[in-house]
Subunit: 458 residues, 2 copies
């Protein structure tokens, strides 16, 4: 007899056991492998061998060995590879043609064109963009990540995180309200961007240089013990960072303006945790044979997945809007499909994967604190290891589930969860809510095929 | 039959049911009322009527209506009643004769005498103190609270919190290491005290005046959602407060020094939550017939309890050292009995009562995150209400258990839990650990007798 007096285990639909007393049944959460795709299921079984396991051990060890340090804040053109000359703008990955872009991304690109002075007004900017006068590429192709539209122009200041000679970059967070990353490009947005370029960037850079590099792993670890999950809740990391930089900022001309900005922006540290996650994940990119996910990103039309064993290749599928809580006056019909590079945090194992650390976030994205614990536990089923630095106090200090394994996703049918902001589908309206979204299953099916091809080619 | 198949409920010692299969027994945590004191048990039954319940409803409503605002940082002599003239020093309550004081309190008083310039050296200071040349009184008698020795001299800057014309005060937190509140009084301590008097106090005051009053209830509520419990863990409140004050501090001469101090002191906000708790609890002091605890405080020799229905009267009993984790090289034999006014936080319903909010603190005071949840749940059994502003995300946002009822303590045998630092028993060594201590049962027995007397006198 099964312990607890259970007499029936049901792996099928609940209606099969409707006639059995409920106390005698345990309903299993079993799903057919590879989301029911028999061909991919066979490929996945073929990939699941000791060579893959060894490759994955190497890949996740490389990720966990990275200790990103915030070393500078510099104009993108001076530090981001490929941004030194020409009219180039970066956007949230995966790649997408201008004609196919969503409203918020177009709006953000227009704002960037205007802020660079490449056009005198929005119409001219749009004509320039649609006529091919601007090169647009994913930030991910340049070691760069940005939330939502993720647009970077050459003159914009970016966070520079470094470890062992490698660098990654992220935009500076503008705060909430009417902001470029949600596709707004009016005078208020352009004025703020100019201030960020002329004041925020240089003053932050001088404060960081004066105070010395900041260990981002340690900062995020502290913040996870203070109710942040490092994606949608960043008030602890922002406050810790501000408190540390404050004496250096206070010593600089216009440092007061920067301290005022930091006091009013609870999400400032998001972009820092993103840059650090990007640097960590890129350490595994191109590991032959590894089924580790190295990037998840959405461009507002498609969801893109990159896997260590297939290098730079993107596996893409259409993306929908997040489920969550909308600000008053807005609903799912207003929502743009999911957008941004910020899922790099979940790729590393924070954000939605660290929900257990952040029970208070359920008031922002929906659900209950118990759901938050269950979400982190569920993500353990599809990840390779507990993150050695990111311990979660509510789960008795267990490490956050880190490193998504394509094969485990296919075996369990459990999809990675992503915390996200929700943008209005029209350029310029801004954020209308926040919530949670699952990565689409289709990209994992494509990734399995890609991994099998890569193995065949070796 | 009892649900779950249990056949035996045992309210006695476990050995009574040793012969019964374990699965058939539920062991109840029943204790005789009033800790086995039959006379007090009878008094408590007599007190437990509608008049007491109505008095308690009024008392806890008055406590929860208080919204303390940090309005100034001023020299104690300018704001604390009774400190304007003469050689008077305040210490952690309850009252105690100099001859009976513990090492850390004597050390702190010597440091205060030296910092006031009332003696040229430690020997002269001690002679002055022991000859009665200094008036020593509990801070609690002056609307004042301080952690550990809780010593305040007239020239020391104090936090001023205000609501509806009433004020309460607390010392400024010196940080860890060799500090006055743990009884250290060497040159390093005196130099820091002079800096706090000449720089920290006046500069903080100017920044608060410039920025406007700070809503302490809101600050503590935010911090409880960020892993603080408001007594032994204060990094969130300190970081939020610093981030808010930083732009104003940066604009002031010597503001950089203050920002450096705040960046290095994770406990700065403790004293602010103490002052706010004191202001809240004093709103209920003297409520006729109420069995609400309005103060718990330790002077390193005795534990003191005050109850709303008995006004200013202290009920005291000997106090022992806390159980917890010791710093390397120290053990319980080095520990001073528990010390300080900081249990005013537990009196309001944060600190040990809000352990559920702060799973990470278990690494500092001992126990596990599950213990932390259990502690908060246990404190519900002896408190009057959930605090309306202090919600605890890990317990599905339930309010922290607030307002200890003497009668509930006697009925359940559950003692209030207090988070605490552990001081070395010799003056000047400083903190050697942190842990948790139960209030002694004896003070609740005395309080019941006092409440019965007060009722008889009405």
């Amino acid at each position: 007899m099964i312990p607890g007096g259970v007499r029936v285990l049901n792996a099928g639909l609940p209606l099969i056991v409707e006639g059995v007393p409920a106390d005698d049944v345990v309903q299993l959460d079993w799903r057919p492998p590879a989301f029911g795709d028999a061909e991919v299921a066979r490929l996945a079984v073929g990939l699941d061998d000791s060579a893959t396991r060894e490759a994955n051990e190497r890949a996740i060890a490389a990720v966990h060995a990275v200790r990103p340090r915030l070393v500078r804040v510099r104009p993108a053109r001076d530090v981001v590879p490929g941004l030194g000359a020409g009219r180039i703008l970066l956007h949230a990955a995966p790649p997408i043609a201008v004609a196919d872009m969503c409203g918020p991304m177009i709006g953000a690109l227009l704002g960037a064109i205007l802020s660079e002075g490449w056009a005198a007004g929005p119409e001219e900017a749009e004509a320039l963009l649609r006529s091919g006068g601007i090169v647009t590429e994913p930030g991910h192709h340049h070691g760069m990540v940005g939330p939502m539209a993720g647009v970077v122009a050459p003159s914009m200041p970016v966070l520079v995180v470094e470890d062992g000679g490698r660098e990654a970059y992220a935009t500076l967070n503008e705060g909430l309200g009417r902001v470029l990353r949600f596709g707004a490009y009016d005078e208020e947005v352009l004025t703020r961007l100019a201030w960020m370029r002329d004041v925020l960037g240089p003053v932050l850079d001088a404060a960081i240089v004066a105070g010395g590099p900041i260990d981002v792993t340690s900062l995020v670890a502290q913040a996870l013990a203070m109710g942040d999950e490092g994606h949608n809740r960043n008030v602890a990391a922002t406050s810790l960072l501000t408190r540390r930089l404050a004496p250096h900022l206070a010593a600089l001309p216009r440092g007061i303006e920067v301290l005022e900005f930091l006091a009013g922006n609870d999400h400032f540290a998001l972009n820092l945790s993103m840059a650090a996650a990007k640097l960590a994940m890129d350490a595994a990119a191109g590991t032959p044979g590894s089924t580790l996910v190295t990037a998840m990103a959405r461009n507002g039309v498609e969801f893109g997945l990159r896997v260590a064993g297939t290098g730079d290749r993107w596996f893409t599928a259409p993306v929908g809007p997040a489920e969550g809580l909308f600000f008053p006056g807005f609903g799912v019909e207003d929502a743009n499909p999911d957008l941004g590079d910020s899922a790099i945090t979940e790729t590393l194992g924070i954000g939605g994967f660290a929900m257990a650390a952040a029970p208070a976030i359920t008031r922002f994205v929906g659900g209950t604190p118990d759901d938050a614990l269950a979400t982190t536990r569920r993500m353990r089923r599809i990840t390779m290891a507990a993150h050695p630095a990111y311990s979660l106090p509510p789960l008795n200090f267990a490490g956050s589930p880190s490193g998504i394994d394509v094969l485990k996703v296919l075996q369990t049918g459990v999809l990675p969860v992503i915390n996200t902001g929700i943008a209005h589908r029209e350029a310029g309206v801004g954020q209308i809510g926040a919530g949670v979204v699952d990565a689409p299953s289709a990209v994992f099916l494509l990734a399995a095929r890609g991994l099998a091809e890569a193995r065949g080619a070796r």
